[in-house]
């Protein structure tokens, strides 16, 4: 078996931003992603009901350059005005070619 390192980028944001975020990460070079519905509380706001808007968590496996590019794009476009959290972790996968 041939495990190789990749980056997993996680973005937590308002569900209303979903389409824009997906578009952005695809432009950065991501080839797939997984979305879960979540709730949350942060410094700005609570997101527990449909009135307050739900949160989503987007996870995407990408190579390091793409991960950094996603972080840069997101931070430039959204960090100032929107409640959004993003982080990178390192994971190991098989079949790297699927993701890069």
């Amino acid at each position: 078996m041939n495990l190789v390192s990749l980056k997993l980028v996680t973005i937590i944001a308002l569900d209303a931003l979903q389409h824009k975020l997906i578009k952005d990460i695809k432009e950065c070079g991501c080839k797939g992603y997984t979305i879960a519905e979540v709730e949350g509380e942060g410094i700005h706001s609570k997101h527990f009901t449909d009135w307050e808007g739900r949160n989503i968590k987007i996870e995407t496996l990408v190579k390091e350059e793409v991960a950094l590019k996603i972080m840069e794009t997101i931070s430039a476009k959204y960090f100032d005005k929107y409640s959004i959290v993003a982080f990178i972790s390192t994971v190991e996968v098989l079949r790297k070619e699927k993701f890069v």
Binding site: L14, A16, K20, E37, D50, E52
Partner: protein, 323 residues
């Protein structure tokens, strides 16, 4: 007026709302399943749309167009004066004033539904085209308020959403699509078609509204805590503006000769604050605005005021002003 007030306060819908608020206050674990709010919203919007459409088939167009004009007029006027009242009299900043103005400029489907129930319970006749007014009045007020917000942030770097994009999002929003879609379906399928689906869209409507108001109560309860933080000026403004809107609305309605019931409903539409389209649009278009202000004003003040004291009050206004 006392009797309609009493009817209004003791209706199962209003009481369900109170139960919801109370449950939150005592920190009950009561909550409705996650999809239920969305499901109930879809039901209400579609049911109102389709029923309204069927009623429109019985309304001569000429009866309707004058109302349509004053409806649009009010939608454009409300955000402007509400913005200035909130900014100058109540002392909020431009951003938050515009955000709240967007809510008052649009309409609340639940308040509207509760008004129809009230009319039917008290046997007050009204025109069939009121649902069409509801649909007309959803979007313009929000657009006007967002325009005001933008004009007041001139130094802003280009935002994510141009005015046009937002308009597109509003017009494709579920609120507008379901109402207009429902209206057209009602128009096209007529009485014969409606007969088939009325056991689902008509008979249980009030009961489902009751459940929906329980949910609204639960959310409102959570907002009550914010009331202390935001202070009296928000509460006063969020009661004063609806009353003002309704008064102007009913006065205009009397001019074009609407009957008492229809004028009351139009007054309620003017008075009601949006809770579907406006919060969603504001969240995206003016993310700097504080939901502690706009959601609290719309949900924790204007909404309960309108469904309890408001409806009977506006009805009283209408009896004074209209034939």
């Amino acid at each position: 007026m006392i009797e309609t007030l009493f009817n209004s306060l003791s209706s199962p819908m209003v009481l369900a709302f109170v139960l919801g608020v109370f449950a939150t206050i005592i920190r009950s674990d009561l909550k409705l399943p996650e999809g239920m709010y969305l499901g109930l919203t879809v039901y209400l919007l579609f049911a109102i749309g389709i029923k309204g459409g069927v009623k429109l088939t019985h309304t001569p167009f000429v009866d309707f167009y004058k109302s349509g004009i004053i409806a649009i007029l009010m939608c454009l006027a409300i955000p402007i004066y509400a913005y200035h009242i909130l900014k100058r009299l109540a002392g909020f900043d431009s951003i938050n004033s515009a955000a709240m103005a967007a809510h008052f400029g649009s309409v609340s489907v639940v308040t509207f539904s509760q008004t129809l129930v009230h009319m039917e319970t008290n046997n007050i006749p009204y025109e069939g085209f009121v649902s069409a007014l509801l649909a007309i009045m959803e979007v313009p007020g929000i657009m006007m308020a967002l325009y005001l917000a933008k004009r007041n942030q001139p130094g802003e770097q280009e935002t994510l959403n141009s005015q046009q994009e937002i308009l597109k999002e509003l017009l494709t929003g579920k609120g507008f699509v379901l109402l207009i879609g429902g209206l057209l379906i009602g128009l096209a399928s007529g009485d014969k078609g409606y007969e088939q689906v009325s056991p689902f869209f008509d008979a249980p409507f009030k009961g489902i509204l009751c459940l929906f108001l329980l949910e609204v109560g639960l959310v409102t309860g959570r907002r009550l805590g914010d009331l202390k933080k935001v202070g009296l000026r928000l509460v006063l403004a969020a009661i004063f503006i609806p009353i003002l809107n309704a008064s102007i609305g009913i006065w205009l309605a009397s001019f074009i000769g609407l009957n008492v019931g229809t004028a009351t409903i139009f007054g309620v539409l003017c008075a009601s604050a949006s809770y579907i389209a406006a919060p969603a649009a504001v969240r995206i278009a003016i993310p700097e605005a504080n939901p502690g202000y706009y959601l609290t004003a719309a949900l924790a003040v204007a909404f309960p005021f309108n469904v309890t004291l408001g409806i009977p009050l506006y009805y009283y206004f209408a009896t004074l002003l209209c034939q």
